[in-house]
């Protein structure tokens, strides 16, 4: 299949970028989206041009490294997958695909489709961990954890920090990411002692990174490769209010 790509090219953080159009004549339906980009890059290298920079690691949909906006949707048209798990069989011969990086002031572009997501690291560093010493493993069932809480906590813990929530949000808000991190710890006994301090400092860090505010569009939930619900955001708000009330 022949695919035409309009790809965002940008040589560095402070250089203006532009779209370049490339034809990939050797794409085939079995390729993943990233493999198709690999084919494009081989082509570009043979032509003596710079390959298109894009992030990836596991290519199994679990690491959160990859992520580009494909035809206006973060991770592309297929819900609940990262773009490494999007396959070319969803496209037709002759299709034109527009590829852009995550666009947010909190995610400055490093080069082409690669953005700097260290704002997420700083949000987690502000309190997304358990620092109390939990001691040796307790006897089974000595600290009961309701099954519903454990399940919900695990749902929130599936966040892979890819940044699609920010990319898809009309406001470039990092609320879903921050909320998932706050919520998964708040629900478990290990995270409970520090829940208030955690909610407060992680939200404050999020605010200082230049992300927008949440307007409850719920677009983040739709583009999240793990389908994390915006109920996490409602929970984050409760946790935060609990923290500021003291």
């Amino acid at each position: 299949m022949i695919i035409t790509l309009k790809v965002w090219r940008q040589e560095g953080p402070d250089v203006p970028g532009r779209f370049e159009t490339y034809k990939v004549p050797d794409a085939n339906p079995h390729m993943s989206f990233l493999e198709m980009l690999d084919v494009l890059n081989e082509q570009l290298i043979k032509e003596g041009k710079d390959p298109v920079e894009f992030d990836y690691d596991c290519r199994e949909g679990i690491c959160g490294s990859c992520g580009v906006v494909i035809d206006g949707q973060a991770h592309g048209p297929q819900q609940r997958t990262a773009c490494c798990q999007l396959h070319m069989r969803h496209y037709k011969d002759g299709d034109t695909i527009v590829i852009e990086p995550w666009r947010a002031e909190g995610f400055p572009i490093i080069r082409d489709l690669v953005v700097d997501r260290s704002a997420f690291d700083r949000i987690v560093a502000a309190g997304g961990y358990v620092s109390v010493n939990t001691g040796a493993a307790p006897d089974a069932n000595s600290i009961p954890v309701p099954k519903d809480d454990a399940d919900l906590s695990m749902d929130y813990a599936t966040c892979i920090g890819c940044g699609a929530c920010v990319a898809g949000c009309p406001n470039a808000s990092a609320s879903l990411f921050t909320a998932a991190k706050i919520s998964h710890l708040a629900l478990l006994p290990q995270g409970d002692p520090e829940r208030e301090r955690r909610a407060k400092s992680m939200v404050d860090q999020m605010a200082s990174e230049g992300f927008g505010d949440c307007s409850n569009h719920a677009e983040c939930e739709a583009v999240c490769p793990k389908g994390i619900s915006i109920d996490a955001i409602a929970r984050m708000r409760r946790e935060y209010m609990r923290a500021v009330r003291g």
Partner: protein, 236 residues
């Protein structure tokens, strides 16, 4: 680094901004609901309408307290809404060349994307509306013998007369109706969004809250539009 980091104080917290918008938004929704139901008194006759308006004014200090509270709600809602909108534009300085919603659980609609626009238009309307009616002929600082009436021996403002006069003009009537449709669109996203901002979070209840929000907005708008149209087309 950002707009938020340069601001200080509790009002700059992204959560508190949403809670303020939500609480004031729900309060203002209750206000427009009450206002709409009050307007329907016109269908019982101009006297009932005037008596209702007179009853409100005669509450005295309580009435002023409510007005002051409303003013505060409007100001907080407007100022916070504008600050959120400005911050959001800054958060994505470079727009996508192609952007579309992923659908599904997303509740991104024309209504949710245009809150700042519908909100600002409603704000402009509010000023015109207050100048036309509250501070119009016969109102505070605008005394007029022609807009006084006596019902059951009590002299009061003839607000019904002013309302009837205003809604004889097509541009005023249909302009008013159009603005009420904007209110409906604003509430379409606003009511459910406020509930979400205040931490309502049962996934099973979300579709119900969302549907009720839409119904409430449509009901309020329909109630507001009914009276001016009835006057314009000569039913009352």
């Amino acid at each position: 680094m950002s707009s938020s980091s340069t601001e200080s104080g509790w009002l700059s917290s992204p959560i508190l901004k949403k809670v303020i918008t939500g609480v004031t938004g729900l309060g203002l929704t209750l206000f427009v609901l009450g206002h709409m139901v009050g307007n329907l008194a016109m269908f019982t006759g101009p006297d009932a309408y005037n008596q209702y308006a007179h009853f409100l004014v005669s509450l005295g200090p309580l009435f002023y307290a409510i007005e002051l509270g409303l003013l505060a709600f409007f100001l907080f809602h407007i100022v916070t809404g504008i600050r959120i909108a400005i911050g959001n534009r800054r958060a994505r300085n470079t727009r996508y060349s192609v952007y579309k919603t992923a659908g599904g659980p997303s509740r991104q609609t024309a209504a949710s994307r245009s809150m700042i626009i519908t909100g600002l238009l409603l704000m402009v309307f509010l000023v015109i509306h207050l100048l036309s009616f509250k501070f119009g002929p016969g109102g505070p600082g605008n005394a007029s013998q022609a807009y006084l009436t006596t019902i059951d021996g009590v002299e009061m403002r003839d607000l019904a007369k002013l309302v009837h006069e205003k809604f004889q003009t097509p541009w005023y009537t249909f302009g008013y109706a159009a603005i009420m449709l904007l209110l409906m669109i604003h509430l379409r996203h606003g009511v459910w969004s406020a509930m979400q901002s205040l931490g309502a979070m049962r996934p099973s209840l979300t579709p119900i809250v969302y549907a009720l929000g839409g119904l409430l907005g449509a009901g309020i708008a329909a109630g507001f539009i009914a009276m001016p149209l009835a006057i314009y087309f000569g039913f009352i």
